[in-house]
Subunit: 224 residues, 2 copies
DNA sequence: TTTTGTTTGTGTCATTTATACACCAATTAT
DNA sequence: ATAATTGGTGTATAAATGACACAAACAAAA
């Protein structure tokens, strides 16, 4: 029995794009055409032949935000019947973490508009996207506890207070300053740049993420 | 642009079926037809329209092993171009844990033969299945450390020694008996049945898994 | 029936890890 | 100069982990 003899679904890749702007935010696009015209949705597109799923995700990501070289991770594949009124559509969901800096919003072909939404004030979502989004958030929070993924949302250099604030924003809980610093510094994943960020109070040491530390850290838990 | 205007891939669901028989074992099927005729492969099949991915996985699982009501979890979706010589095929991989008891092997239509293989002596695998399998094993080991998934591989009732042996076999490391017992019992996920297993030496208490403990335990880590 | 062999079941101490908590230092704004 | 603001540091207590050895209960063999 040949491949073509089986009915085939359409396959899309949706990318939940997170960033930090005061709050933890996700990028959504306003649908221009039916179904769900006028509603907000997670950006995504059809997989093309000869393209890997990750390539599809990266392509979507670049189309929507103009960014490349960001953290991208496959989340889950959704294939329940009836999830797309147009027919049989299976969606591979990815989530991406982009730094608040250097994002250039540009609506794709299918979208009327692209906007960041705080995860605390999401609009009604198209398709089954209201199920997918909490899943992505949960995964992000979970990963934050045992990997160094938090840095992906910050610019190249950052202060420890900024890093802690990022963690607190994502986890939606407050952390003890001294314990946070001890753990982060003890993990050896960041290093001083030598520069300082000056501002209102005392200037703060600037740190950068140690790229060579990624692999070894993946196994450990930073915040058990 | 309508759905049908996009080229569509074939989508299959592959299920890595684990069990414990002395060793940790996976069920593989010997392919009857090309491509890779005569080679061993992870059991799987095409998703049918109107069927969820999980239903496909359960169907495959039942076809191969005759079991229902087992632990099943989506693993990862593989879609690299060229992974199937027949054409464009995207595979959603699941992994299942079935108790060593009550498995009735029955080769499916596409298979010449189904066999359990120890994960320490795997044959050459068809497609990209040699990449998928270690991924499943890693996930299983990882999950074992923070959830109560180990019980899924044991019969209804079991002794603490049997449970410890299961953990040791999967993790491929030895554990301290007293520390193991302290942690398992402290987690409150199992309870005594009151019955004993008699055998060579001193009779052992039989335990059962507390079903109502699943949810609350999912969050905690049993073996950090 | 006594002895031997095999498996179960239990507690403590040392070490490590996590948590709670308060003040001085360095700078800018007034 | 003074006040206001943010950055940076250590210690003591509690909890979790890891290492470790022997008596109890039964079956098999003598």
């Amino acid at each position: 029995m040949a491949l073509e003899d089986y009915p085939r679904p359409s396959v899309t890749v949706d990318v939940i794009i997170f960033t930090l702007h005061d709050d933890l935010q996700v990028l959504l696009i306003k649908r221009k055409y039916p179904p769900f015209a006028g509603m907000w949705a997670i950006p995504g597109g059809f997989v093309q032949e000869g393209e890997s799923l990750e390539e599809t995700a990266l392509r979507e990501l670049e189309e929507e935000t103009g960014v490349r070289d960001v953290y991208l991770e496959q989340l889950y594949t959704f294939g329940n019947p009836g999830r797309d009124p147009r027919g049989w559509v299976i969606t591979v969901a990815y989530f991406a973490l982009v730094p608040c800096t250097a994002v250039d919003l540009q609506a794709g072909d299918d979208a009327a508009e692209a906007r960041w939404f705080s995860i605390h004030s999401l609009p009604l979502l198209a398709f089954d996207h209201a199920d997918i989004l909490p899943y992505a958030l949960q995964r992000l929070r979970y990963k934050l506890e045992y990997s160094a993924v938090g840095f992906e949302l910050l610019p190249e250099t950052f202060t420890l207070t900024e890093l802690q604030t990022a963690y607190e924003t994502i986890l939606d809980e407050t952390l003890d300053k001294r314990n946070f610093r001890r753990k982060i510094l003890g993990a050896g994943v960041i290093e001083r740049t030598g520069a300082y960020r000056t501002g209102e109070g005392r200037p703060a040491q600037l740190y950068r993420f140690r790229d060579d530390a990624v692999a070894e850290v993946k196994a450990r838990r930073l915040f058990p």
